[in-house]
């Protein structure tokens, strides 16, 4: 056995350190002996008073609690709520956009917005439970699909000059924002019981989910099938809601930190 193999055992499988090979290597190699002693050094225990305080904190006002729903169930429930918001949005604003678009444009729009909504919603629901954050792949996927929302209009829609670009666009965005805020409230309702170790990230996902729903509602009611209009006025709703979600997460994090500071000051 060489030093590298010994190191692997020390890190990954300490039970194998009792083997004859490992013990022989330990006798022969002074460096590995130092490392071995280092890792099996006697543990430092917290003072009894600190453990007693921790115990009383864990036992204070102890009442039965209902565990959070599984992320899949939470995603399904929230998707139902969001479907309700979508139907309400289309019912109030109409479906002129659906009629004005070709089947290919509809397919591209709803597939992309749906993908962003599903990915970000599942990531947001995972954020509710400490220690179960989304994988790196899911985080990258959410970012890539969200970025595609801003790119795809230039690919599927043409550029046509519009004399009412600013006035019509601002109104379109306002309607989209109203739908997005309702969707955001629905997502918040589903997430409210969670404990967020990364509130800003959770807010970003929640905002993205709400924004993608607002985007698809805008695509359904807005008859302006034009690249610059969709990119700016529909895309800005997604961006605004994602930023609002991040900001809300930041506020929540500050609040938690302040409460923790007060607790700490109280102990001092």
């Amino acid at each position: 056995m060489n030093c590298e193999e010994f190191g692997r055992l020390l890190l990954e499988d300490q039970s194998a350190l009792a083997s004859v090979d490992a013990q022989r290597h330990l006798r022969e190699c002074s460096e590995c002996r130092v490392m071995n002693e280092f890792f099996v050094a006697p543990a430092v225990d917290p003072p009894v008073s600190v453990m007693a305080n921790a115990e009383s904190a864990a036992r204070s006002a102890l009442t039965p609690v209902r565990p959070l729903a599984a992320p899949t169930a939470a995603v399904a429930g929230t998707a139902l709520l969001l479907a309700g918001v979508f139907i309400a949005g289309v019912w109030v604003n109409g479906h002129h956009g659906w009629l004005a678009r070709t089947p290919w444009q509809r397919a591209a729009t709803y597939t992309l917005a749906g993908a962003v909504a599903v990915i970000s919603l599942s990531a947001a629901m995972r954020e509710r439970t400490p220690g179960s954050r989304s994988s790196q792949v899911a985080r990258i996927a959410a970012g890539v699909f969200a970025a595609l929302l801003f790119v795809f209009p230039t690919l599927v829609y043409g550029f046509h000059p519009d004399t009412r670009f600013w006035s019509h666009g601002a109104l379109c965005s306002c309607d989209g924002l109203i739908v997005g805020i309702l969707a955001g409230l629905a997502v918040w309702f589903a997430m409210r019981r969670g404990y967020f170790v990364a509130p800003v990230s959770a807010g970003w996902y929640a905002g993205l989910a709400a924004g993608s729903l607002a985007f698809s509602v805008q695509e359904t009611y807005c008859s302006a099938a034009e690249a610059s209009h969709v990119t700016l006025w529909h895309g800005c709703v997604v961006a605004l809601l994602a930023l609002t979600g991040m900001f809300a997460g930041w506020i929540a994090a500050r609040r938690e930190a302040q409460m923790s500071f007060r607790r700490s000051a109280g102990r001092e």
Binding site: G7, R8, L10, L11, E12, E31, V34, M35, F38, F39, A41, A43, V44, D45, P46, P47, V50, M51, N53, A54, E55, A57, A58, R59, S60, L62, T63, P64, V65, R66, P67, L68, A70, R128, T129, P130, G131, S132, R133, S134, S135, Q136, R193, G194, Y195, V197, E256, A257, S260, F261, R263, S264, R267
Partner: protein, 181 residues
């Protein structure tokens, strides 16, 4: 943990007794100050108590608990930074230089040597060896793959070994190599 969620006081006390010491060691290895570690431990348990409904049986308890502890530690770090009036983003904090401590022969303390490692390697070694978590549990806490955690652990181990072993055997060179990696 399930009994704790059902308001069983004995289960709460048992959980604190079982996990408290390793949590404390993990916090102490990061902050290197017993009074801060004690404060953080207590704050962690207050948060665990508040967030106990977010644990979903039968998933492992330790990743859930350590995620809360790490969050508490980071909050504490930010709070201390603000208090000291030297606020700066965590990303911009420079990694500690990979230099061999001068008094290594006199004080071979785990905490001191671990501070010489880059943050991501130190975290993994602390969780693995000080707190006794498995590679899978650490991967779950850090949101990384088991392979990535294993790699960080081995790099940290090599850097630590270079710090612990005599300089004549090329320890410093290997430490720098580990830090660069």
């Amino acid at each position: 943990m399930e009994a704790y969620q059902q308001a069983d006081e004995r289960a709460a006390a048992e959980l604190v007794r079982r996990v408290g010491p390793s949590l404390y060691r993990s916090l102490l290895a990061h902050v290197r100050d017993t009074s801060i570690a004690e404060d953080l431990l207590q704050d962690t348990w207050i948060r665990v108590h508040k967030a106990r409904h977010t644990y979903r049986p039968p998933s492992p308890v330790l990743p859930w608990l350590y995620a809360i502890a790490e969050h508490t530690r980071l909050d504490g770090f930010r709070r201390r930074q603000r208090r000291q009036g030297r606020e700066c983003a965590i990303d911009s904090v420079a990694e500690p230089a990979m230099e061999r401590p001068d008094d290594i022969d006199q004080r071979l303390t785990l905490e001191k040597l671990l501070q010489a490692l880059p943050e991501n390697q130190r975290e993994v070694l602390v969780m693995l060896k000080v707190s006794g978590l498995s590679l899978e549990e650490i991967a779950q806490i850090k949101g990384a793959s088991v392979g990535a955690i294993k790699l960080r652990a081995h790099r940290g181990y090599n850097a630590l070994r270079a710090l612990l072993t005599p300089a004549e055997s090329g320890g410093k060179a290997r430490a720098q190599e580990g830090g660069a990696a």
